[in-house]
Subunit: 296 residues, 2 copies
């Protein structure tokens, strides 16, 4: 947070959402999409798919989210395609969230930190998703490293898949749910940055856009988190702006809804892809209280 340090992630993300609106486009080179785009089911296919998507979305949206699994399924060659995708995002000025859902402890967590938020790592975008089965505290080394490089972290908190309740809805002795504890830990992690005047902290949450009243039922104080809320489930999975307003009441300006297949299936034509992103984005403008800079 010194004047000489890197610009914090929360500030950069806020600028991107102010300019383009609150939309994150998932780069999910699923094999069915590769086939639809006429691309081979291999590392060269995911590379081509991802670079074309970045090109089509440059100047159209502010944030993209490559999903690591779709690259890793083709091994190290796929991971090299992910590195190229991250580099393309950087060159295009797109905020890039690498959806890797990593999590471990100690020196192993430090290894993942180097990979995904490390200073000179080719795999490091602007933020990474992480999983807290080993406790929120196990993520601290990665969060510290992310801050030092001006990057962000999105911690899995409450997901929309029905199986997630087994873990996320469980409660401690005081009756506090796991999901609420993760939210409270994130709020604590963001306190210093918010006190220093940042619009958003560097530590966000992943909360499904289709979870309905679960945040309230589970005692999650999303309005207090102070970090961005990555919200998958838009479009194909059923959530629209009404559902998002309900799930994230009080934290609307921090929500970053994510959409993948609905937009990607409009490709490979560049203009069709950009138009699909523009349509989804237009439907989200009211979430942050009005039109974004780009459309003024």
């Amino acid at each position: 947070m010194t004047a000489a340090g890197p610009e914090p992630f929360g500030r950069r993300l806020t600028a991107a959402m102010d300019r383009y609106g609150p939309l994150c486009v998932g780069i999910d080179p699923h094999t069915s999409l590769l086939a639809r785009w006429g691309l081979p089911e291999d590392a060269s296919g995911v590379r081509e798919f991802s670079l074309r998507t970045v090109e089509a979305l440059t100047g159209v949206v502010g944030v993209v989210k490559p999903q690591a699994a779709f690259f890793e399924q083709f091994g190290s060659a796929g991971v090299a395609a992910l590195e190229e995708t991250v580099a393309a995002c950087r060159a295009a000025g797109l905020v890039c969230v690498v959806d890797a859902k990593r999590g471990d402890i100690g020196s192993t967590m430090a290894g993942y930190a180097q990979a995904f938020v490390g200073k000179d790592s080719a795999l490091a975008g602007d933020a990474v998703t992480v999983t807290p089965y080993l406790g929120f505290g196990s993520l601290d080394p990665l969060i510290a490293d992310a801050r030092s490089t001006g990057r962000g972290v999105f911690v899995l908190a409450l997901t929309s898949n029905p199986e997630g309740a087994q873990v996320q809805h469980a409660r401690d002795r005081d009756g506090m749910s796991v999901a609420a504890q993760i939210a409270a830990s994130a709020a604590a992690a963001n306190a210093d940055e918010l006190a220093a005047g940042e619009p958003l902290g560097s530590v966000g949450l992943v909360v499904g856009a289709t979870v309905g009243s679960a945040p309230r039922d589970l005692g999650m104080d999303l309005a207090a988190v102070g970090g961005p809320m990555l919200a998958p489930g838009l479009g194909a999975q059923g959530a629209g702006i009404t559902e998002i307003r309900s799930v994230f009441a009080g934290a609307e300006r921090a929500v970053l809804p994510s959409s993948s297949r609905e937009i990607l299936s409009a490709g490979p034509d560049r203009e069709n892809l950009a138009d699909a992103a523009r349509r989804v984005q237009a439907g989200l403008q009211d979430l942050r209280g009005g039109r974004c800079d780009q459309q003024l």
Copy 2:
């Protein structure tokens, strides 16, 4: 489980433990170990470190566990080194557990399944570790794929880091802890294979060797799981055979204690490394009720 199918993981792992004893050597090319071995801190260093370790341990131990984070920290070149390590294990007849702790849902989980248990994937060893923050059920597609290729899955259940309690000790409405639910889900997943006469199911757990009485306190029925118990925390982290017997009472024959730094720091000399592994392994022989085939 058809006669024409691949040999199940539980059977192969049991054969390896019968032959060599119950030890898994972690391949953790930590930067401090690279320096100690006189290797560069880059992908070529982790490659050399890992291939030398595999060579030194061939014919000495039955199971190794490369830790993905230490490879990923060097990006796609590091992941290529992991692929070479997996291939070297295969050529040497070592059972290889890729410690990747992946976890996601739906088509993304299918991507990780292809990467780590897929039929022709260069990243797929004999088993992979996974994380259940999205619920045990979210792992089902990967578990099904693993069975179809004769591979195994180790699900994070109860870890030794103090932060883990926030999630793992939480309880559902009926008072059942998350850790106990994961164990019960694994038991259910293994039931068919055990009924068919397999010595161990394909679905194991990760339970820290240093967790003391926590499994009993949390109501985990480890004896009922029927899958292998990967137990990190041996040696440097403080657990010996006495602690392991206490933690895994009733499931001793299923325990696969894991040791990394204590053994690896004996390198790079090949014989010193092998001797260190032999010493640790000798201290574990009684765990399975006596001497292993190799020493008869």
